[in-house]
């Protein structure tokens, strides 16, 4: 504990350096902006800003990119409350009561509690990260290829289980992701695989153009001619500081939302969306007046907002301590770490303490910046929301194209982004979710290497995954997750889609 605190102070000396503070500010501001704007999310934003970070040192770059992740959670709530339209998928639940509060003239209190709640939860998750990540990394040093393989299988299974529509379709997306992710030179024999003689494919398909196509351009194509000028809540927003009664009602939900979000965010594959729904359902269940939910209950804003912020902190733990991303957003961050020449995994904390502790300290500072800046900036975000979507959509496309091209200075990446935008659109049209694809795309090569090494290690015995206790536990959990829906009509993700 004392060691962690000392390391955290060391982290603050890094995060407080002026250039790191500047990039943290840029990250949280960009995050809030994309959170506010419907049509582009943090995953695509991180991907398109990735090339711009190549001239920075890796610490500043990761500080900025992680700022986008948690900044987007703050921004998403603004659109949910003022427009009844979630700026981010993880802000859907905030619409239920946030917009009702706005209609009752309490938009200020809703925005206020959402900002304070996000700050409290963000702070909680930073401390959780400090306590848990190093411990988990120490534990994970003992992981061999079988444990890694089993953990990745568990992550992909959980993602499929939490799919809002068909679990089989989500698993198909995960398999497609593995297939696409493994294109390129074989990691062991260097044989070109599915490159069709194209040199550009020898290093595999880049994650950035794939994400920009799937999440950036595809979103614009889907909304062509649909979204016009946003109908923003017109009344003047006042009373951003929640009153004593608001705090009394919100303090319990804030604490429960933070705990739930953080611990669920730790699980590979869960992300920030599911915990938000669960936290809302929990508060409704615990409330003496559940009928107030959906009609402007402040608890219905406080709990999910705290929850989605804490969950983002939670998702950083498997990323930084195991090198395993649990969401599409952290999958891009993993890709970024690799591009910067860092090896994500249990040794990251030991080998690059300045990066690990610097980023954690910056997350605390970033949350503080968001709290201080966001409330006064709400009128600015409202004005941003009034920009017609026709302009925004063109700029989103332009940034995606620049982002795709500049990664390798190659127009092939633009073609890849265009192809994946069509793929993304068709997947949506036929109710396939793209998130498992992206996660498996990043995990695919790691999963393949772990599988092949495990088999070489065990002389071809697949029982190796069951003979080692940790991997056996992961595999058992995956099997339970896969089999459970066969015996029960209730599946978490499916339930969420109905509420959605």
């Amino acid at each position: 504990m004392l060691e962690s605190l000392t390391s955290l102070f060391y982290g603050f000396t890094i995060a407080l350096q002026p250039h790191n503070l500047f990039y943290c500010f840029i990250g949280v501001t960009m995050g809030t902006l994309v959170g506010v704007l419907p049509g582009i999310g943090p995953t695509a934003t991180i991907a398109l800003l990735l090339p711009a970070t190549f001239t920075l040192n890796p610490i500043s770059a990761i500080i900025m990119l992680s700022g986008i992740c948690y900044g987007a959670m703050y921004g998403g709530s603004t659109t949910s409350i003022l427009l009844n339209l979630p700026g981010e998928a993880s802000s859907v639940v905030t619409c239920f009561d946030g917009y009702q509060m706005a209609r009752q003239g309490r938009a200020g209190a809703a925005l206020g509690i959402s900002a304070f709640g996000s700050f409290i939860a963000g702070t909680f998750s930073v401390f959780g990260l400090i306590l848990l990540a190093p411990t988990l990394a120490d534990f994970a040093v003992r992981f061999g290829p079988p444990e890694y393989f089993a953990l990745m299988v568990m992550g992909l299974t959980v993602v499929a289980y939490l799919a809002r529509k068909s679990m089989a379709k989500a698993l198909m997306m995960a398999i497609l992701g593995i297939l696409l992710g493994c294109i390129g030179l074989d990691p062991i024999t260097a044989t070109p695989r599915f490159t069709f003689g194209m040199l550009e494919l020898a290093d595999g398909i880049g994650i950035a153009p794939v994400v920009m196509g799937l999440f950036g351009i595809a979103e614009v194509l889907e909304n062509l001619g649909v979204l016009g000028k946003a109908d923003v809540f017109a009344e003047k927003i006042k009373g951003l500081f929640p009153n004593r009664e608001d705090w009394k009602r919100s303090i319990g939900p804030l604490a429960r939302g933070s705990l739930l979000g953080f611990f669920l965010g730790l699980l590979p594959g869960v992300g920030a969306i599911v915990p938000q729904f669960l936290s809302y359902a929990l508060e409704k269940k615990l409330s003496r007046h559940p009928e107030r939910f959906g009609n402007g209950a402040i608890e219905g804003v406080a709990a999910p907002e705290a929850c989605n912020n804490a969950a983002v902190g939670g998702t950083f733990i498997p990323l930084l301590s195991l090198g395993i991303p649990s969401t599409a957003m952290t999958a891009i961050l993993l890709g970024a770490l690799m591009i910067y020449g860092l090896t994500p995994g249990p040794l990251l904390i030991k080998n690059s303490p300045d990066l690990f502790w610097g980023v954690i300290a910056s997350m605390y500072l970033g949350n503080l910046m968001l709290l201080i800046l966001n409330l006064p900036l709400i009128p600015l975000w409202v004005r941003v929301l009034k920009i017609p979507y026709s302009y925004l959509s063109c700029f989103i496309i332009l940034f995606c194209l620049i982002g795709a091209y500049s990664l390798n200075n190659s127009t092939t990446d633009i073609y890849v982004a265009v192809v994946f935008s069509l793929v993304g659109l068709l997947l949506k049209k036929f109710s396939f979710e793209p998130a498992p694809l992206v996660l498996a795309f990043v995990l695919g090569p790691l999963l393949e290497t772990a599988l092949r090494r495990s088999l070489i290690l065990s002389d071809g015995s697949v029982l190796i995954f069951l003979q080692r206790p940790i991997s056996a536990a992961f595999i058992l959990f995956s099997v339970v997750v896969l089999v459970a829906p066969l015996f029960s009509q209730i599946r978490l993700g499916r339930g969420l889609s109905e509420e959605d």
Binding site: C182, R193, F194, L221, Y391, L401, K429, L447
Partner: protein, 153 residues
């Protein structure tokens, strides 16, 4: 209605089965290796096989279900989508030949003027400003090398 849905589901499943089988075929050409020493095609083969099985599961699900599988999005404007995709392919083709500023200006003018039906004067003004500002930000400030083309910008 049910018949159309079944045909759509069948066509979808057939597509995924084909993808899975192609992966298996390509994998077998790469060499599967053995279980003690997996080869370059090992992961592709097994993934392809699982994809085929899952495609059949999805087909069975769609036949049994009363939900329409093509309800994932609202009404899509396919003509506009095709035009945008074509313009992006042309953008990629001309980017290194004509340079960033000119190609971007033409693309944005087209997207704003033709696709989004914005007033032409506004479209041209916005496209010009956006092309120049993004060039300044990315090329000059962030030092990202953007293609110059034969005009030199």
């Amino acid at each position: 209605m049910k018949k159309t849905r079944t045909i759509t589901a069948g066509a979808g499943a057939l597509f995924w089965v084909a993808v899975g089988l192609l992966a298996c075929y390509g994998a077998s050409r790469l060499g599967l290796g053995s279980i003690t020493d997996p080869g370059a095609g090992f992961i592709f083969f097994w993934s392809g096989l699982v994809l085929v099985i899952l495609a059949l599961v999805v087909l069975a699900e769609s036949i049994r279900s009363s939900e329409d599988a093509t309800r994932g999005t609202g009404q899509l404007n396919w003509t506009k989508i095709a035009l945008v995709l074509l313009s992006l392919v042309l953008y990629a083709f001309f980017l290194e030949r004509l340079g960033f500023v000119l190609t971007t200006f033409v693309l944005l003018s087209f997207l704003l003027g033709c696709i989004e039906d914005t007033n032409w004067i506004k479209s041209l003004g916005t496209a010009g400003a956006a092309a120049l500002v993004s060039y300044a930000v990315f090329e000059l400030w962030l030092e990202i090398r953007l293609p110059k083309g034969f005009f030199g910008f």
